[in-house]
Symmetry: C2
């Protein structure tokens, strides 16, 4: 039996009461034990302290324990890596890609950087810049750009909630998964949910005083039952109330000063546009060949003959902006006559607009099919991968190039480099890149989505792949080869017609200037190197 | 002074100790006071109890306090709303939209639901279904569908991290914002970060034993300094290592058994395709008119005359798949001759493929411009809103319809309803809907992205808006009106040519069956009502 007394004059405050009392009693007990069993006390004390220490350090390895509690890391200065190391980390292929205010147009050895605004008259430039900025802002608004800064979660939030992946179609309703409360016990739980672009509700059948604001943007749950709170939270619904296409709402959950925020994406799925390959999966039901010609009817005829040698019934679409129509006697050729000289990319865009098969094979009018020109091989690549476009080789020339974009205010900088990014999964002889030669197979629907800009009337090639940046995944399989019609006698002694072709085909300074101005305005670029 | 004693034989267990002792002392004190100052005790007791109660319920409203400590909520059964209430919550316009396994094709009063697989021969159906499923899966793979289930955050995670909005371009590197540790103090902090589609690093300059795995998919931070840990976390970088277009990586942060997971989106921004409206913002630099004609040259001529009355120099594109070309003497008309009878939507797709201005105005070849046909008004609507398409009215007929998609395995159900979703912000006389009449102004680039399916050769209209679901935001402003050419003498006594037109134009049963089969396969639909 132990008798311990309160000392007179001790404080009687509610908050400290039990602590103070506990320690005084402990001293009293300890004192009593000590006087009766000194060795027992000391042994017990040692065992107790050792037990506490081992319990506290149970997750720490022994070397650390024996290294002592004072570590060197506490004195380590907080410094960043060297500027050069950081630059390397943010670089790819020697280009410093780190998001920065201003990218610069660099002309270095072997690399020519075009400062695209030089394509405009100095006096016109301010007005052009103003117009481009206005158009760019309109574009941004329609794309929902710029995106808001990342939503950051605070540590130790007493809620479970969905971090990512909650999507709802416009005007639809969904259940929000993963909502739960794991905070302290309180007599009454008051949890507030808020949304901006939709309304909230719950499938739980509870009285009106438990859930306020059903069907509104702010819903308050108020209950003393933790179990009921969880049940209500498990059945919270979100209804999108505005018909829009790609907005992101931020929904918040609040308990006292703890706030959890998570995104709800309002998105309408894009409806599929599939093509039926037919019961036999015949090539003519899968692929259409497309080409554009101008003042070179003899070349087109030679091309067609070479195609028919290997593919007698595949549809060939010919877009022609020559002066006079040509006559083609072929049941599987579709011939389109355009206004004279309307242009190269206009013709390409026209040709692909008429395709009714899943894939389209682009060829130039002076190519020559041979026994290495295996369309089926390219089809196989697109069928088995996620590529949108796969290029082959024109007599060994693959013309693979990478496009790397440095985003920047006042216009982006686009870098063009020979080569490829990585090998293609499943096809080790093929690679992934940004641009290829003008002999490629493409998903018709994806190609039509990007299109060939009819503003490009004369010489143009990489512009298509620039327009496709972010939309088209491009690959290259060099072992599928098409030939090229060598100079024929007609080329050596050109007819008046062919002389005109030569004039149109020349990449003049005016042409170059026009294309630079187009890149500047259309693609919101500052520099192209 | 109050003297209270422990009763002999009382338990001395650590956990209950302070509570038991507290209550025994309290009883002792209370007993002493009571014998000396009965009224004082009762008053003090009352004040004390009231104070404690008010303190405990300080965050609860008074009505709740006075309702008593024992709440009914603990006994409330956990039930959901009635089936009917739930159904209403998930419905829009009477259509039950809740994600469900199987949507059904319903034929009810006034509404005809087409079970689209009926368009196929019964014997062909299994093969068609198999082919459609294969094509759908290929489509899904390329779109990154189906999306993984939502990423759920557990409660009370001792980390701060970015919930949403972290994006990186393929092969680029970014800083991850918001990472922090706010867990318990430990002698050594060991935090593991993991990624799948990229590698991790930190800009903090620290020894190799503090950070393991720089530049790898798993990086381990090991330090005894909490300050150093925070510094390292604040400067963590993520590098995308695979060239892909729209993948989402899940990055995890682990400390003992607490794991935080958050998404990093690997996305290449879509490059802009802007149009220069020119210094004066003249209509002819902003808008191109496009139309398609077939065996109705007289109608086209009347249309052109009416256009020129109000818009003398706006470019008009005419796609023609008649037998013989027509002659149009107009400097601002571009005329395209197609293979005979190639088709309605093929011609529409051709026409829009040639547009070089920001906007394109679609008109049918038998419309008639009048003084209410104000293109500028439609331009103003598109310039000031996020709409992609805005329709007008053809002699009072607006043909507005809503399309509501019920997603389902085995094909979706599409519901078509007259009317509109909501009024257009900033233009109260205009509305947002899914489909409009064939008189509309559209963003050229957005229209080209969707396109007109050249497989639709004869009668078709809503198919274009179905293809545009999820891509085009459509509006309607009924106060911009175009006229319609009334029946001319030529119509009453049709020439042989016009008789042929009549045959082609008829929406035969074969036509209907073909279009249903196309919706079934192409759009992966089960039902269209």
């Amino acid at each position: 039996m132990i008798f311990c007394r309160n000392e007179p004059g001790t404080d009687f405050s509610v908050s400290k009461f039990d602590v103070d009392l506990t320690s005084r009693v402990w001293e009293c007990v300890a004192g009593e034990l000590d006087s009766r069993f000194p060795w027992l006390l000391k042994t017990l004390a040692f065992i107790l302290v050792l037990g506490i220490v081992l319990f506290m350090f149970r997750s720490v390895s022994l070397p650390v324990v024996f290294r002592g509690f004072k570590s060197d890391h506490a004195h380590l200065p907080l410094t960043l890596l060297s500027k050069e190391s950081i630059r390397n980390l943010f670089s790819y292929d020697g280009i410093w890609l780190f998001p920065k205010q201003q990218c610069k147009c660099v002309t270095s050895k072997g690399r020519r950087g075009y400062n695209l605004q030089d394509a405009y008259n100095h006096s016109d430039l301010p007005a052009v810049q103003a117009r481009r900025q206005a158009e760019f802002e309109h574009f941004q608004r329609r794309e929902g750009l710029p995106r808001p800064p990342p939503l950051l979660a605070q540590p130790n939030i007493p809620f479970g909630y969905p971090v990512h992946g909650v999507e709802v179609m416009p005007l639809h309703t969904i259940l929000i998964p993963g909502l739960q409360y794991e905070g302290p016990e309180v007599p009454v739980y008051k949890v507030t949910l808020k949304a901006s672009l939709g309304s909230l509700n719950t499938l739980a059948d509870v009285p009106g005083d438990v859930v306020h604001g059903r069907g509104r943007k702010e819903m308050i749950i108020s209950t003393s039952s933790r179990k009921l709170l969880q049940f209500i939270l498990q059945h919270v619904t979100y209804t999108s109330t505005v018909y829009q296409h790609h907005w992101v709402d931020t929904v918040s959950l609040k308990f006292k000063s703890s706030v959890a925020k998570f995104p709800v994406t309002i998105r309408h799925p894009v409806i599929p546009k599939l093509y039926d390959p037919g019961p036999e999966k015949q090539l003519r039901n899968l692929v259409t060949i497309a080409t554009k010609t101008f003042l070179r009817p003899h070349k087109v005829k030679v091309l067609l003959q070479s195609i028919r040698k290997y593919y007698p019934d595949v549809t060939v679409i010919v877009a022609d902006d020559s002066k006079e129509p040509m006559e083609i006697k072929d049941d599987y050729v579709e011939y389109y006559l355009m206004p004279f000289g309307k242009g190269w990319f206009a013709g390409r865009n026209l040709a692909i607009s008429q395709v009714t098969t899943k894939y389209v094979l682009w060829v130039d009018d002076d190519f020559l099919f041979n026994n290495k020109t295996k369309i089926e091989v390219l089809v196989d690549v697109l069928e088995k991968t996620e590529l949108d476009v796969v290029g082959g080789s024109v007599l060994g020339n693959v013309f693979q190039f990478k496009l790397l974009l440095e985003q920047s205010e006042g216009g982006d900088c686009l870098n063009k480099r020979k080569g490829w990014f990585q090998r293609l999964d499943g096809f080790p002889r093929c690679v992934v890149t940004s641009g290829v030669v003008n002999f490629f197979l493409a998903h018709t629907e994806r190609l039509q989505r990007v299109g060939f800009d009819p503003r490009l009337q004369r010489v143009a090639h990489s512009e298509f792949f620039v327009d496709g940046l972010g939309s088209l995944l491009v690959g290259s399989c060099p072992y599928v080869v098409v030939g090229h019609q060598s100079h024929s006698p007609e080329d050596l002694n050109p007819t008046p017609l062919e002389k005109i072709y030569g004039i149109y085909r020349k990449n003049t300074n005016d042409q170059i200037q026009f294309k630079q101005a187009l890149h500047y305005f259309k693609n919101h670029l500052q520099c192209f190197e």
